[in-house]
């Protein structure tokens, strides 16, 4: 019975994959705990917000195979709602971020409901068009502050006594949101629900024939993704004390795609790596006389033509082949 010897190897391999992920996660966490002492905290917080935003986007493209070209609508909506909650309603910062996430989830329900009626490229165009509609509404709606946006948002006191105007507590707050969001997404991807999502991604017709209500699964994934993206936007608005139209433009939707594509679509760590690179690049380029969008566009083209797996994806592929 030679076959039995190979059977136990499979679970062992999965376990080592899991523990590998855990080790990586602990390593990243250690880095992030040290980061505010090594880098400018606001910069690291920005990276965290965009990494979470990209991870939320990645849930759709990487694990359901849906390319949303309108995720800025959720990011921006989360930013506006959190900003309004903190500034006008004087709510606790955590409550503001949660409200932002909920608001994004509700918007995600509406957008997702329409967008999942079509597949593939049409899905992308629909999400882009609907996010542009949200953008136009944001331009005209009184509570967004139009071109000025919502400025001077108070970071406030977490639970009433932790002063978030201090850099380190604020960093801890953003890090906690990031870790919670990433952990939630990781759990979803590895849950039975996540397995069904991947089955839909790999072969939708088969998933339907197996009796899954594919539309419902897609919609749930869409709402979760939108809510997490919106929470990231809410956190970002507290970090910069600003929510503006920039957060909700199609360029922002493009940026989150680039972060994910560059880092590695369908990988857990890819969005984080992508965010570090893109945000760093943007920060440095802002000081130079080089048009940022040209470089961003160039990276886009290079990614699509040369390494579609992204950085983390290429490394994983390389490790798997060894």
């Amino acid at each position: 019975m030679t076959t039995t010897t190979s059977a136990p190897a499979a679970p062992a391999k999965i376990a080592s994959g899991r523990s590998g992920e855990l080790l990586t996660a602990l390593g990243v966490l250690a880095l992030l705990l040290a980061a505010p002492f090594l880098f400018y905290p606001v910069f690291v917080m920005k990276v965290l917000c965009f990494a979470l935003f990209a991870a939320a986007f990645n849930l759709l493209i990487g694990f359901v195979g849906l390319l949303s070209f309108g995720h800025a609508a959720f990011f921006g909506t989360g930013a506006y709602i959190a900003a309004h909650a903190a500034k006008v309603w004087h709510l606790d910062p955590l409550v503001a971020v949660v409200l932002g996430g909920l608001g994004g989830g509700v918007l995600g329900l509406a957008v997702g409901f329409l967008a999942i009626k079509r597949k593939g490229i049409y899905f992308s165009m629909i999400t882009l068009a609907l996010s542009q509609m949200v953008f136009f509404i944001a331009v005209q709606a009184p509570f967004t502050g139009g071109e000025d946006g919502i400025q001077g948002i108070p970071r406030g006191h977490l639970f009433g006594f932790i002063d978030l105007n201090e850099p380190l507590p604020m960093y801890g707050f953003v890090l906690a949101i990031f870790v919670f969001g990433m952990f939630a997404l990781w759990r979803i991807v590895h849950s039975p629900f996540g397995q069904i999502l991947k089955a839909i991604r790999d072969n939708e017709a088969r998933a339907i024939s197996l009796g899954y209500d594919v539309a419902r699964y897609k919609l749930i994934a869409f709402v979760i993704s939108a809510a997490v993206a919106a929470a990231a936007g809410g956190a970002k608005s507290l970090v910069f004390q600003l929510a503006s139209l920039t957060d909700i433009t199609w360029q922002m939707s493009g940026e989150v795609i680039l972060i994910t594509l560059l880092g590695g679509i369908g990988t857990i760590l890819g969005p984080v790596v992508g965010a570090v690179i893109v945000i760093t690049l943007e920060n440095y380029l802002a000081t130079l006389d080089v048009p940022v969008t040209v470089l961003i566009g160039g990276i886009f083209v290079a990614c699509v033509l040369l390494f579609r797996r992204g950085i983390v994806g290429e490394i994983e592929h390389w490790l798997a082949r060894r």
Partner: protein
């Protein structure tokens, strides 16, 4: 003064005209998108940037080479088409056969590069481009005043749309294109040079965008971002019409343009979003689009 539904008739006609003009651009652009998508399976995000490139080429031609408007109408689509050939040969060809999403991402990246460069070179503000002397002024039609250039835009776009439709539906070349859209491998096996056909189709599609850019130059300011906002609306037009039908793309373009114009008369704040709302309604009622044949 005559009023219709409480709106001055002249204002109503004026907005319908503006709607027809916007519709002309929607039609020209969505037509090009549909033709390219049919054969290449690529949603050409760069379509808006190439429309901008068309307008800029006309403007630059006038500034530096004294290229007049009429010459620009011929030369610019050729220039943009040649640029399209370069894009297709160097980039799009290398991702053919992959998921169409990569085509969208690639052309999105190209859009950022093209727009970024023009913004770097010319700033974000618009450049004026005067209409040709033959088309300045206007005529009083009795019920409204018609600026001649605007009338010309509508007529020119209708002619070009019809000509494109004719080439695709009624000529030998169009038959090759339709057949290759259905089954490229078999068409190749018959001895037709499909790779060349693909290059020419992309070039032709973007030449339409370049032509639209020249038409637009005297109406809108020539600016680096004039294309990207437009292309997103055109995506919505394409979703409404469905990309299965050439005639459908054209008709949907004009209809939605007029609808947008009418909205500007009756409820101005909604005019920026009315096309997106129509798209949402169409998705609810008839997800494949008005003229679509499903995914």
């Amino acid at each position: 003064m005559t009023t219709i539904f409480g709106v001055p008739a002249a204002a109503l006609y004026g907005q319908i005209l503006i709607g027809l003009i916007n519709g002309s651009f929607y039609a020209l652009l969505s037509l090009g998108l549909a033709v390219i998508f049919g054969l290449l399976n690529v949603i050409n995000f760069a379509h808006g940037a190439l429309y901008m490139l068309g307008a800029f080429t006309a403007w630059l031609g006038l500034q530096y080479f004294g290229l007049n408007y009429w010459a620009a109408l011929v030369v610019v689509p050729i220039v943009v088409g040649l640029f399209g050939i370069v894009i297709e040969r160097l980039a799009l060809r290398r991702i053919s056969g992959l998921d169409p999403l990569y085509g969208l991402l690639l052309t999105f990246g190209l859009t950022l590069v093209i727009e970024g460069l023009f913004r770097y070179w010319y700033g974000s503000s618009g450049q004026p481009y005067a209409p040709p002397p033959q088309l300045t002024g206007g005529v009083n039609l009795g019920f409204m005043f018609l600026p001649i250039y605007r009338g010309w835009v509508v007529i020119a776009s209708v002619i070009v749309c019809f000509a494109t439709w004719y080439v695709i539906e009624r000529t030998r070349l169009g038959a090759y294109l339709r057949a290759a859209t259905e089954n490229p491998a078999l068409v190749k096996a018959f001895g037709i040079n499909v790779p060349l056909l693909i290059t020419l189709t992309y070039a032709g599609g973007v030449a339409l965008a370049g032509f639209a850019g020249v038409l637009a130059a005297p109406i809108y300011q020539v600016s680096p971002l004039m294309g990207s906002n437009l292309i997103i609306v055109v995506f919505a037009v394409v979703v409404v019409g469905g990309m299965g039908s050439i005639l459908g793309a054209i008709v949907t373009g004009y209809l939605l343009g007029v609808l947008e114009g009418l909205t500007k008369v009756f409820y101005p704040p909604a005019s920026a979003i009315v096309i997106f709302v129509v798209m949402a309604v169409v998705l609810l009622v008839r997800p494949a689009g008005l003229f679509g044949r499903g995914d």
